[in-house]
Symmetry: C2
Subunit: 456 residues, 2 copies
């Protein structure tokens, strides 16, 4: 009988976790003896609907990948069998055997507030290497940035109340649940239900009981008492299995040691008020109310505007899939090439898409209060007063970046957001933050486009 496949990522063969065309191009460059150094930039052309900024996330997994990407003999053997590689020389496969990333990475640190068009990563490496890594980099940054951004909106709506990630069951596979837990914490969440993520990241693991616990006992009260026996200091009870208000009364019977209750369905505004009354009526002012069930930033905003006495929000599906904008359209484009010691700017200008050429840097301007007011996208190294946002991550294949802890990143993200004026953070109809191209960059673009059009 066939063994079922896990399809877990191959730690020794991350090189083939890529699109085939990266490898055909790699073979092509190899066969053409093109040893140019190329610079690619990863950026998001247009922000999704209702997004006015991004919280950059995923750099740590990018650093892991770039320092671990290899081709196992088994994976090379597979490539050799593909008809498309039929005319490719043996030397290329020998090259893959010793493949590792030897280039340079500049990146916006995780937790940076970024905007459309700005490079989040800049890779400079032999063109083959820079090409092969594209797919993994995109999928890592696109996903985590998308989720960290969504989480930051939800945390913003919660106005200081706790937000917990409950989303693994609805994430795009078990691995996405782990990465989402990381991105959510980075975006401001207080913990996750995902035990493995909590373990590996050193962040709070949260959770007590589900409906099945309540259903597994003779009746609700009995199930609550049994739970309290085993978890006397952590008795947070789910009260909506049968009837929420009756559930609140049953929970209150636990007495002073009751830590809180969770409501997972129904009209949370009214139910939370009624439940609060029941708990307060029994003197259980300290008992917390957790709200959950298809929550997102809009619903939480509504709950808060209506003064719902909810202390903590458990958010799942909507956050870990960024449901209203489930994909971030990050792209990775060639912007410069060193050919025989000469730098050649590169760009694309098809019908509806244009890219700016050359190695770029983003310079961020602040006002006297520390608020960020404008970004200038210019050439790397040009004179500019703003603070450069892209920092060195990898040089000659080696990490030369002090990895912050996830707590530091969370702090930085929150600090950065606090300096973004409120008009840019509104959940809907936020103002568009000004990102300006420097004169030098604009000039370069015009020159390059003219030159390329002449060559067409």
């Amino acid at each position: 009988m066939n063994e079922p496949k896990s399809l877990f990522l191959p730690e020794d063969a991350l090189g083939i976790v890529t699109d085939l065309y990266q490898l055909t191009m790699a073979a092509g460059y190899f066969e053409q003896e093109m040893q140019d150094t190329a610079t690619f930039e990863l950026f998001v052309r247009t922000l999704p609907k209702n997004r006015s900024y991004l919280i950059v996330a995923g750099l740590e997994q990018v650093l892991h990948y770039l320092t671990h990407v290899r081709f196992s003999s088994e994976s090379i053997h597979y490539l050799r069998t593909l008809p498309i590689f039929h005319h490719v020389s043996n030397n290329f496969f020998e090259y893959l055997k010793n493949f590792s990333f030897s280039g340079t990475l500049y990146a916006m640190p995780e937790g940076t507030v970024a905007f459309a068009g700005e490079p989040l990563l800049r890779v400079t490496a032999p063109i083959i290497e820079a090409q092969i890594v594209e797919t993994y980099l995109l999928s890592t940054i696109n996903f985590q940035t998308s989720i960290a951004t969504k989480a930051s909106r939800i945390v913003y709506a919660a106005r200081g109340r706790d937000v917990i990630d409950f989303g693994t069951r609805r994430a795009h596979g078990p691995q996405a649940g782990v990465l989402a837990a990381r991105a959510c914490f980075l975006g401001g969440c207080n913990g996750t239900s995902n035990v493995f993520a909590a373990f590996k990241l050193g962040i709070p693991a949260v959770g007590t009981i589900a409906h099945s616990w309540v259903m597994a006992f003779e009746n609700e009260l009995n199930s609550f008492c049994k739970f309290h026996e085993t978890f006397p200091d952590n008795t947070l009870l789910l009260i909506d299995t049968y009837n929420t208000l009756l559930g609140a009364k049953h929970a209150a019977m636990i007495g002073k040691k009751l830590k809180g209750v969770r409501i997972d369905s129904g009209d949370l505004i009214n139910l939370s008020r009624e439940v609060r009354k029941i708990l307060d009526g029994e003197g259980l002012h300290h008992a917390r109310i957790v709200g959950s069930g298809d929550l997102n930033e809009e619903r939480i905003d509504e709950l808060m505007r209506n003064g719902a006495p909810i202390d903590s929000f458990g958010v799942g599906t909507e956050m870990v899939t960024s449901k209203d904008a489930p994909a971030l359209g990050g792209v990775y484009k060639l912007v410069e090439q060193e050919h025989k010691g000469k730098s050649i700017p590169r760009m694309k200008f098809s019908e509806d898409k244009i890219t700016y050429p050359c190695k770029k840097q983003v310079y961020r301007a602040k006002d006297d209060y520390g608020n960020i007011i404008k970004d200038v996208m210019g050439l790397e190294g040009e004179k500019n007063e703003g603070m450069p946002l892209l920092v060195l991550g990898i040089k000659d294949g080696k990490i030369c970046y002090h990895l912050p802890s996830i707590h530091e990143i969370q702090y930085n993200a929150s600090e950065n957001l606090s300096h973004l004026p409120a008009s840019f953070k509104r959940l809907k109809d936020a103002e568009s933050y000004p990102v300006i191209k420097s004169q030098l960059l604009e000039q370069k673009r015009q020159e390059t486009e003219k030159k390329l059009r002449n060559q067409l």
Copy 2:
């Protein structure tokens, strides 16, 4: 310096890839000496907008997980450190050391056409085991089913033209890209750009060049010739880097050996027509046109209705994120419990959610032409003429199911869909397929609810 973390799933500790509450409940059941056998069913309450059926997917990874789920000593050590487990006895952690899944799984085979409310999986096991596995099962089935379903809609819209998965870069992390590639193939795609997925699954890997190849050479024509040198039999060229029609002319200069061209931007209807004319004008009738760029079932349907001469569609973001419906709301609910040799039906009836009690089976009725016309959801073992859809997957922790190949699954999915009348497959405003509860099941529900309400 800290090492960057991969956050890859821990093959030796899949037990902690779960929500914390599964483990607190497990500890609670353990401490309460509750050794009841429980049955949980996984089902989708309501289908997402514009979905009228599901293509079930993910069972193979569920089988892998259920036969591999363990707790490593390191993961148990971590659990011991959590304050919430403070009062839990040492015996529970000893129990986790030897944990494995010893239960029974019934499942709809992958590729089955399923509908709202129908159990896709049914797990019967000691309640602790059945509880711990919930999160992983949900996230596996929810994701792959969601993507296989989306892919089947896209393939349906393509009316027999090829559909290729190009989505890894926009999937929810690199692992999600691999699982999506599997689900897309299962749902009817012809191949994937994801090399690792193609390798592991034995399905076609597809892809030639990106814009960067074209940009990396002196000019477009030069880049095309260079590619043709290395890949004489697989020269499929991307022609929209600068100007699509000029690109088509450059591609045509390759001559008879040109395999095809890809258009990735602009008005695909008009461009594909113009490009076809250019190719045909050079006698390159055999050269294929691939269309890509933000395609989904609606856009492909529009292209096909307008007779766009596109032979193959490369679909990414929209398919691998199921962008219009990025989450499937599968749930996993306790439906029955063996307590001291007695079967107790279990159900939930909170304000807005109800579950049906007891072990269920889905019986599918066909008309004389083999078309499926109605499902009856009844009790396991009840007399019913329809074909039962849930089959045995695991018994006493061991797989007893012949794993079909991915090609067989794809064939089955396509066969099954071909017997679903067209009115249920319309991309929009499809009819709702009738799923009826059997009399016996309805009776059980009423009895159980009455009994539970009396106990409240």
